[in-house]
Symmetry: C2
Subunit: 148 residues, 2 copies
């Protein structure tokens, strides 16, 4: 389901964020790539085609703003690059250690209450699994060639 520019503008305004063109485009990109966990680089590479003067600094600025507002979630699953996604609940991230791909999976973590954390204010819950994805477990004969 496409989200309209108007809806995005409202989302930003409701959070007290000035709906600049760059911010709308970043947010729109993340909505379209929902579950795709793009890196800052990927967001930049795509948007710079439409906004030639775009700076990577703006990507970082924007992501920080959106993250603080709770519209975007930052994923630190490995050490290479941070990844970003619009905020979704009740799902975890699986990263393949071979190909690096990230897959969402449902997990009912939002309902989990930890007695030992009763004195803590939990604002964000992340579940990261790592291992091998089906593709890397059973590569096709063609893929096996490439891996040689």
């Amino acid at each position: 389901m496409e989200i309209s520019v108007q809806e995005l503008t409202e989302q930003l305004s409701q959070k007290g964020i000035r709906p600049s063109y760059q911010r709308i485009r970043v947010l729109e990109y993340l909505h379209r790539k929902e579950g795709g966990h793009p890196t800052a680089e990927e967001i930049y590479d795509f948007l710079v085609n439409e906004i030639p003067a775009l700076s990577k600094t703006t990507i970082y600025n924007t992501i920080h703003t959106l993250t603080e507002a709770g519209l975007v979630r930052t994923i630190h699953i490995d050490n290479d690059e941070a990844r970003y996604d619009i905020t979704l609940h009740n799902h975890g991230h699986f990263q393949c250690v071979a190909c690096g791909s990230i897959t969402n999976f449902p997990i009912d973590i939002d309902r989990v209450q930890i007695d030992e954390l009763s004195q803590f204010e939990v604002r964000e819950k992340n579940v990261y699994f790592r291992g091998l994805c089906p593709n890397c477990l059973n590569p096709t004969s063609e893929e096996k060639e490439l891996l040689k």
Copy 2:
């Protein structure tokens, strides 16, 4: 409970890792700091006192070796620095967004099975919560002074 050098040596040998002095000391440090989630810097700063010629490269080399062997777990809870700990099961990590401290909490994640991941080989499960720790939620009057 202290772990002896002999036990550490055996742990390494069993994994096919040559039990060099540096590796034993790193592993020993992580055992002593169990649940303390030290950074590479902290490990280095402590051990360089006893091994003056120690290099940070060796810390990284050693950590990688120990991680691959499954003796150590790497924690990427934020973007600043990786943190390391000896492998423990069934616990999650809570990081305070104010003071940065990391607290372990028990969570029965190892038993969790996700139907959607039946085709995946899950090797590692991490649970990261973020929020405010009790100390930062209710700072003492003295601490409030410091924050001004």
